[in-house]
């Protein structure tokens, strides 16, 4: 059974404050029936070095990805995962992780593909919890398996495929959330060292460059509504009615931006192109722009 949203003045500024909880709220609610706390990190071993007492681990690589199809798990696999983690369909799931909740936001986005209704982020993530001197444990969290229904993934609302991005070029604003060097196509190339596995550097024409971490404050929490509006509305030029597509390298950093645009700023139609540069930079017959300019959609100049 889902629990009530945290009443927190700091979150009231955001469009959907019920999507955030504070570290204190987690400390107060972990172990409460109907609440499951999930840690999701970039580093597959970090949870094992110490986690919030009572938290379970969901790993993006081993739990959420399906290697044979290079896709996300299907409805049955997700149901099996949820059962194994002790999560019921109507539970409140609170996710936290390393690196300003970068991977936690990715997990939240995948939970949303399966229509899990109440999934929230712990603002500030793992680093804030540790900075506040709160308890970590290496004790295994006891889990009672649940009956979670097999619900098919709905990719139509918050996920964009390559074909969607191609069709949207020139009409739908794109946000490239990678580093400036990845955006321009400049390579930090050194002889003899393996490079990122893409054939071409650069960005999707028309995409604005907004590195994902600009939405995060020093302590890993999200920046204020005012600061976020200044970046995405004033600087990038997004309008309230715009559809938006965000992308990065494999869709993880852009999940963070998806969360910001959807839940903090209240844009209604934001999609994450998870194929991202790993797909686009290797694809045949797609346009690429290099340098600092956004570039134009093919045909737009004619």
């Amino acid at each position: 059974m889902a629990v009530e949203a945290e009443q927190n003045d700091a979150f009231a500024q955001y469009a959907h404050p019920e999507r955030l909880v504070s570290t204190q709220w987690v400390a107060d609610h972990v172990g409460t029936p109907g609440v499951v706390v999930v840690e999701s990190d970039e580093d597959v071993l970090l949870y094992e070095t110490g986690h919030i007492p009572g938290a379970v681990k969901v790993d993006w690589h081993t739990d959420l990805n399906e290697p044979d199809t290079r896709d996300y798990v299907n409805g049955e696999q997700f149901a099996e995962l949820m059962s194994r983690k002790g999560i019921s369909r109507d539970d409140t799931v609170v996710i936290y992780g390393d690196k300003s909740n970068w991977w936690a936001a990715y997990a939240l986005w995948v939970f949303t593909l399966f229509g899990h209704r109440d999934v929230r982020l712990m603002n500030g993530g793992r680093d804030k919890w540790i900075a506040e001197g709160r308890e970590l444990t290496t004790d295994a969290t006891p889990v009672t398996p649940t009956e979670y229904p097999a619900v098919e993934r709905d990719d139509s609302v918050i996920r964009a495929y390559r074909e969607d991005v191609l069709a949207a070029l020139g009409t739908t604003p794109l946000i490239d959330v990678r580093s400036p060097q990845e955006y321009t196509g400049e390579r930090t190339h050194m002889p003899d060292y393996p490079q990122e596995g893409t054939l071409r550097g650069g960005h999707i024409p028309t995409a604005a460059s907004v590195p994902w971490a600009r939405a995060a404050a020093e302590d890993g929490t999200f920046k204020s509504r005012e600061d976020l509006d200044a970046i995405y509305r004033d600087e990038v030029g997004l309008g309230q009615d715009d559809d938006v597509i965000a992308y990065c390298r494999i869709g993880e950093r852009s999940s963070h931006t998806w969360f910001v645009l959807t839940h903090l700023l209240g844009f209604d139609n934001v999609r994450n192109y998870d194929g991202s540069w790993t797909e686009w930079g290797n694809a045949v017959r797609v346009p690429v722009a290099q340098g600092e300019e956004r570039g134009e959609a093919p045909g737009a100049a004619r």
Binding site: V44, L45, L46, T49, H61, P194
Partner: protein
């Protein structure tokens, strides 16, 4: 997985990882991450003497010293990585245990596909595995430089 072309101390590590059942492989990697030796004080106070492996997703610094000169000189490896990066530490620790003390020529002969031989590719993302490859590449490059090649 072939281990014939590996030095003995490295071969034992590859075998160890393969004999551990899948669910325990991460635990084994975690144990390695905990056993990565600390930097000696003389290097800890001079971090600028270490080379950053930028291909790793977390900060990882390493340096190589040769005890003597020539291809038979034993290699000493030094790594520095933060506690918040246990996977990176684990990889560094594997390389330390597998390569430290070997003659320079043997380290240079270690096959470049070494990281794929530990059976970890299902558990650890490709980008991280490339981090381990990059560590090995930089170790070899530093050895070449020390040998004056």
């Amino acid at each position: 997985m072939s281990t014939q072309d590996l030095p003995e101390q490295l071969r034992e590590l590859v075998t160890e990882f393969h004999e551990v059942p899948e669910p325990d492989k991460l635990q084994l990697l975690l144990e390695f991450s905990r056993s990565l030796p600390e930097l000696p004080a003389r290097l800890g106070e001079h971090p600028e003497e270490l080379e950053q492996v930028t291909e790793c997703q977390s900060p990882l610094f390493l340096t190589v010293e040769l005890d003597g000169s020539g291809a038979d000189a034993p290699v000493a490896l030094f790594f520095s990585a933060p506690a918040e990066a246990p996977t990176t530490r684990g990889f560094a620790s594997i390389l330390h245990e597998g390569l430290n003390g070997l003659p320079a020529s043997q380290v240079l002969d270690v096959p470049d596909d070494l990281p794929e031989r530990f059976g970890l590719t299902k558990l650890v993302s490709p980008l991280r595995m490339r981090g381990m490859s990059a560590m090995l590449g930089r170790i070899k490059r530093q050895i070449h430089a020390r040998l004056g090649e």
